[in-house]
């Protein structure tokens, strides 16, 4: 009873709260890092160095009036942000923060497949939100989101197959253990897959340079043009929660999850002083930083360019990588 229900429930409660709090601080981090990149200071008023901005933003969003456009499809309009956020949180159920079962909620043998399918559902939130708004800019944005989904999802899934081949398992814990056994992070074994999955992750989370469904300067905010108040902040939370999910998945697949650098070199065992979960979170932060860094640097792709990138470049590379991996697996 305690082991099967209460402990998992507690873990879920802790994880979801930690996640939502870290999302607010991620927003602060984004504002600060971009500000530094642009030779500004960023938020400085709320608390020392603007730290309390992370609390002020959510409070402001919750207190805003929540408007439903008169001609919107009311139920779908409310459902869409929820559909966007929930999958992002659910994906964390299988993400291991450390080696023993205390550090994850569950380790299912199709963990990677679970994450892929759950995060794909999140895109429906964007598509439905754009459709239910009954407005033209969100409609164009949801069309873009669907086109984008098809363009990158195939390439990413295909790339993940080559990682699965290398690891020999779909379980995320199993993948990290496989990296421990082979003594090398898969990022070095599968550099092409590493790049493809990370770029696909950018597209999946609608981040620069693939932020087409949002595209503030073209579509005035895209799918969330008509959203305000709490429902808007759910979309907002979902976007950042998704970024954390993608960073975590990439860290697990390619940077060895909770493993310290060179996990099999005994001479570096002093690195074990740092707990495993801190290594993992540190790796997530590296990716979060890159996400933000890219946003400060790159222009935006046009959506036909994203499609041709997905279909003409990523998918052939992904297939080639898969074939090479399979050959290597059979040969050695």
């Amino acid at each position: 009873m305690v082991d099967t229900i209460i402990v998992p429930l507690l873990k879920i409660a802790v994880l979801i709260n930690a996640l939502l709090v870290s999302v607010t601080f991620l927003v602060l981090m984004e504002r600060k890092v971009i500000a530094w990149a642009q030779s500004r200071l960023g938020p400085m008023r709320a608390g020392p160095y603007g730290i309390l901005q992370a609390l002020a933003d959510p409070i402001k969003l919750i207190l805003k009036e929540d408007i439903t456009p008169a001609k919107a499809d009311k139920y779908v309009f409310t459902l869409a942000p929820i559909m966007s956020l929930v999958p992002a949180l659910v994906a964390f159920a299988v993400i291991p923060f450390g080696p023993d079962p205390f550090y994850y909620i569950s380790d299912i043998n199709v963990g990677l497949l679970f994450i892929l399918s759950v995060t794909s559902i999140g895109v429906y939130g964007i598509i439905l939100g754009g459709w239910a708004s009954n407005s033209k800019y969100p409609l164009l944005a949801s069309l873009r989101a669907s086109a984008q989904l098809i363009s990158y999802e195939i390439a990413v899934s295909m790339t993940l197959v080559s990682v699965i081949l290398t690891a020999g398992t779909l379980s995320l814990v199993g993948i990290v253990e496989a990296q421990l056994e082979s003594g090398i992070w898969f990022g070095f074994v599968q550099p092409v897959a590493f790049a493809l999955v990370f770029i696909g992750g950018l597209a999946e989370t609608n981040r620069v340079p693939f932020d087409l469904p949002e595209a503030e300067t073209e579509l005035t905010g895209g799918f969330h043009t008509e959203y305000s108040g709490m429902r808007f902040s759910l979309f907002f939370l979902a976007e950042y929660a998704n970024i954390i999910v993608i960073s975590a998945v990439v860290a697990i697949l390619f940077l060895g999850g909770w493993l310290r650098p060179f996990p099999n070199v005994a001479a570096l065992s002093f690195l074990d002083v740092v707990p495993a979960w801190i290594w993992f979170i540190g790796k997530i932060f590296v990716f979060l930083y890159v996400f933000i860094w890219l946003r400060a640097t790159l222009p935006r792709y046009r959506y036909d360019q994203l499609m041709s990138l997905g279909w003409k470049l990523f998918i052939p590379i992904a297939i080639g990588n898969l074939v090479l991996t399979a050959i290597a697996k059979v040969a050695f």
Binding site: Q38, L140, L143, T217, E218, T220, T297, P299
Partner: protein
């Protein structure tokens, strides 16, 4: 270009077509431009610009002010290049009155006009890059624009609407040390230009977003009446600083950058080169600044002889012309008319956007560099 109902045909819709109203409160229409787009999916089939949302009647207002008071109204026409507007107007009046302007004043006017060109191009670069999604460039470009505004503030006390010139010369001589500050700004700006170019010029995404977007041939650009960088981007060598030199431009050595393809990328490159040419002109002007008065001999109350004149100069956005009619009796113009480059360039927008995607529309609004204050006046 209509003031009434938009001229996008709303009947005969093919399947998949819709009409999208872009602006006047759209973040990328650079003010209050409204474009009614007819889309097939995301491809633009037809477009119509609706203007007039910031019409203030500046021309009519000017006909009821005396010749000196008008200078401060010209600030408000193209408010991101106020000094250039001052220059065009005072030179037109000087032409009408046949006033001799001291050489030092002409040199300083050139410096001011070129500083203004840098400031205006900074704003263009920042917003253009922002529209395409590169938001850091905006902050960088505005950082350097601040230095220009500081220089203007030191010269005439204002940062945006300068009222910086007078018929016959300049209201004041430059403050001591100002010329050295201008020179050190030139050195700084040269380094910063490389910084902008690192972010954009060879960036693959930037290239993909701007190459072959809004291609227009030289003949077509001429027949549409485009001017300034959009015209030179198509390879037409037309720069009034060279062709009909005003101020002191004939005494300086500079090149007119020309494009070859006539696409958005060429227009971007041209403006980046114009930054450098402006710096070159400013250096020559400040280093060779002659001594002497900054104000010529003009009567206290201006009353030009009866007649009319048209005087055009090269503003950062293109050919800025002033058409003035004086009846010779009153102290205000009988007719005051501006030929605004933004307005003329905006005529080409429909031609440029047709056949492109929605994402290109904002890139093309950026590339023609319009200021709605100047379009509507």
């Amino acid at each position: 270009m209509t003031l009434g109902a938009p001229r996008v045909s709303t009947d005969n819709f093919a399947p998949g077509e819709l009409v999208l109203n872009m602006g006047p409160q759209h973040p990328s229409t650079h003010g209050v431009l409204r474009i009614v787009l007819k889309l097939d999916g995301e491809r633009v089939v037809d477009a119509d610009c609706v203007i007039g949302y910031i019409h203030r009647g500046v021309e009519k207002l000017c006909e009821n002010r005396d010749w000196t008071q008008i200078i401060l109204l010209t600030d408000r026409i193209d408010y991101v290049a106020a000094a250039t507007n001052n220059l065009g107007y005072v030179e037109a009046v000087e032409k009408l009155m046949q006033v001799e302007v001291p050489r030092r004043a002409r040199y300083l006017r050139t410096v001011l006009a070129e500083l203004q060109r840098i400031a205006s191009h900074c704003l263009w670069l920042g917003t253009h890059a922002m529209d395409i999604g590169a938001m850091t460039v905006l902050l960088y470009a505005f950082r350097e624009r601040e230095f220009v505004l500081d220089l203007f503030e030191e010269f005439c006390g204002a940062r945006l609407t300068y009222n910086s010139m007078r018929v016959g010369g300049l209201p004041l001589d430059i403050p001591p040390g100002w010329d050295d500050k201008v020179l050190s700004f030139c050195d700084l700006m040269e380094g910063k230009l490389n910084e902008y170019e690192t972010l954009l010029t060879n960036n693959r995404i930037w290239l993909q977003r701007t190459r072959n977007v809004g291609v227009i041939s030289g003949e077509e650009a001429t027949s549409l009446g485009l001017c300034g960088p959009p015209l030179r981007g198509s390879g037409v060598s037309r720069d009034l600083r060279k062709d009909e030199p005003n101020a002191a431009y004939s005494e300086f050595d500079f090149d007119v950058p020309l494009g070859t393809h006539g696409d958005t990328y060429d227009r971007y490159l041209i403006r980046m080169d114009e930054f450098r040419e402006s710096i070159r002109i400013i250096r020559q002007a400040v280093e060779g600044l002659p001594e002497g008065p900054v104000m010529g001999k003009v009567p206290r109350l201006l009353k030009p002889p009866a007649g009319e004149t048209y005087h055009a100069i090269e503003s950062p956005k293109g050919e800025l012309g002033y058409f003035l009619v004086s009846d010779g009796k009153s102290t205000n113009p009988y007719r005051f008319r501006v030929r605004p480059p933004s307005f003329c360039n905006l005529q080409g927008l429909k031609r440029l956007v047709t056949g492109h995607l929605v994402a290109d529309v904002v890139a093309l609004i950026g590339t023609i560099d319009i200021v709605l204050g100047e379009v509507d006046r």
